[in-house]
């Protein structure tokens, strides 16, 4: 068993909804993340998958310790992120870094590439000499394939292509040599070929620097190539977690099954797909029982009343009334 790097216990995030003057004071809290548990092992890539509004970005931000609203426990090694004092929080910041979706918005257009990549060093490693700082920036740029790095230090973001910008953002995230990288839709804005280029780069860097990665994405087909394990999120809850290959080949949860069915791929012909109707509800309006039941194609009476308990079935966590125990599952779900 690999060592656990991050352990999340019963984490919830409540946001206070602002609704104007009249209804102020009422309890309008919405639960964007609702009591989730998961673990991340050292060196693995965990993909967090869900539709927009499922709360996946909120989870990423909470793990980074960026959300004061987060409750529960987020253990980073033996430190609880949510209870850490200022000194420890600063130390944690150097261990965790985030990569954002939009390479156009995440950079100040008036700063040079050197300034952008060196900023984390300027904040967290203040006693670094300018020469040492330059050296580390160059190494980070070389690592992300911006060679020779010296040529890029004085350039501005607008002089770079979309792919190069995303590389600079990755360099900025890696310059502190973090143990955990949270990549929030790192390639969803990029073209097919560039997407592959950046993902291959991330996988290469992960092997070289041995960091752990939480990849937030809605692209199931890509997770197949990059993630060791996959967690399916819906309306603030994790419905299924397991090894990527198993989950995609034999999804237990009906929601996972539906998500897999709608992935467009070039090897499928013209056919009407079983698409779920409706949309993910607002977290202020969570359905009773299993929160997926109004859209579930296999809904049963019990789903409307009782919240399913998390079940562990061969290395996999799944929350669904259809999955009672290991035997039941084998009859109902596998294709074998």
């Amino acid at each position: 068993m690999k060592a656990s790097l991050v352990n999340i216990r019963n984490m919830s995030v409540w946001f206070q909804a602002r609704t104007g003057i009249v209804r102020r004071g009422k309890n309008n809290a919405v639960r964007a993340v609702d009591g989730i548990d998961f673990e991340m092992f050292s060196g693995e890539t965990l993909a967090l998958v869900g539709e927009s509004g499922s709360g996946k970005t909120t989870v990423g931000r909470a793990v980074m310790g960026l959300l004061r609203e987060a409750a529960g426990e987020i253990w980073y090694k033996d430190l609880n992120v949510l209870a850490a004092d200022r000194e420890n929080r600063l130390r944690l910041r150097t261990k965790m870094q985030m990569i954002f979706q939009d390479p156009f918005d995440a950079m100040n257009p008036r700063e040079t590439i050197f300034k952008i990549v060196s900023e984390p060093l300027a904040i967290h490693c203040r006693n670094l000499t300018p020469a040492a700082q330059r050296k580390r920036v160059c190494r980070a740029l070389a690592d992300v394939g911006m060679t020779p790095p010296e040529d890029f230090l004085g350039r501005f973001p607008h002089e770079l292509s979309g792919g190069q910008r995303q590389r600079v953002l990755i360099a900025g995230a890696l310059v502190l040599e973090p143990d955990l990288v949270i990549a929030d839709e790192p390639v969803s804005m990029l073209d097919a070929s560039l997407k592959v280029e950046i993902l291959n780069l991330l996988m290469k860097l992960q092997k070289k620097r041995n960091f752990t990665q939480l990849m937030i994405t809605h692209d199931l087909a890509l997770t197949r190539y990059v993630a060791d394990r996959i967690a399916i999120m819906y309306l603030g809850k994790l419905l299924e977690i397991g090894p990527t290959r198993d989950v995609l080949a034999r999804p237990y949860h009906p929601y996972t099954q539906s998500l897999i069915k709608v992935v467009p791929t070039v090897d499928k012909a013209w056919e009407e797909k079983a698409v779920l109707s409706g949309e993910i509800p607002h977290p202020s309006n969570v359905p009773p029982g299993c929160r997926f039941h109004p859209r579930c194609p296999q809904v049963m009476e019990i789903c409307r009343k009782k919240i399913p308990e998390p079940m562990i079935v061969d290395q996999r966590m799944v929350q669904c009334h259809l999955v009672k125990n290991a035997d039941n599952k084998r009859k109902g779900f596998t294709n074998e």
Partner: protein, 328 residues
Amino acid sequence: MNTQPSILTVDNLTAEFRLGEIYYPALHDLSFDIRQGEIFGLAGESGCGKSTTATAVMNMLPENGRIKAGRAMFEGHNLLTLSEKELRRIWWGKIAMIFQGSLNSLNPVRRVGSQIAEVLVLKGGLSKPQAREKVNELFSLIGIRPDRSRDYPHEFSGGMRQRVMIAMAVCLDPGLVIADECTTALDVMIQAQIVNLLKHLNQTLGLSMIFINHDLALVAEICHRVAIMYAGRIVEMGSVGDVFARPAHPYVRQLVQALPLMEGPVDRLKSIPGSPPRLQETPRGCPFLPRCIDGDDACANQVPPMLPVHPGHYAACFKNKDVHEGSR
């Protein structure tokens, strides 16, 4: 194979854009036709000219763009030489567009239904009660409860607003709809719903469509035929089955290899090294040559024309291999 007559025929369309004082070619010699009842895909990486093609065909190029040569024949008219007044009769009524940004193009302070009714009254010549009736019909068609037509746009989700834009596009029974990245801002599940809706409209109304998208997998799912663009040119064109299963152009071959699949072995995905040429630097020969693994001197001196690979399947490459050998 679709043997219907063409609804739109584009011949040798060439367009250019002014940057500073100089005009640079953005579209080179495009020829394609859309057949009655067909969904035709225009795909390629960003900057390859897909959207420019749509705006050029509609004669809607921005200020700094101009058509240099070519024709776009629609119902006996060349769209590229019509006056603005004549074009207005064709836009929306005969050819409608659905944009990506259309999520934001509803008026926020007016009820959704009355915005569609306005089009029906002003452009379609319907009376107000007739228009209301038609709005209800359209709402059932796009799968939204007709009573929701009295809601305001902010009460609708992104997917529902896109459905409304689709309803608006088809409300005057146009012969052709151009959908430009119409699912890009939407979630996978909502995207699948919209794709099903477009297919449904294609099948029930016989609607012809140009489906522009950067997501090749999505194009493969919805379209009958597809043209893949690179640096302002069509480099391969044919039925979806031919182009994606037996790509003949090296660019398309590599592009298809870069697409993740949901089945089969998990190999490392391959990207295409290099990047497309910029607008300012149009090479003399094949624009893909700097990134091509098969290219030689012939490719450097002349732009390859569209050469037949197989009946109905064309690729702009001198090195066309017989990709159909043994497959039929």
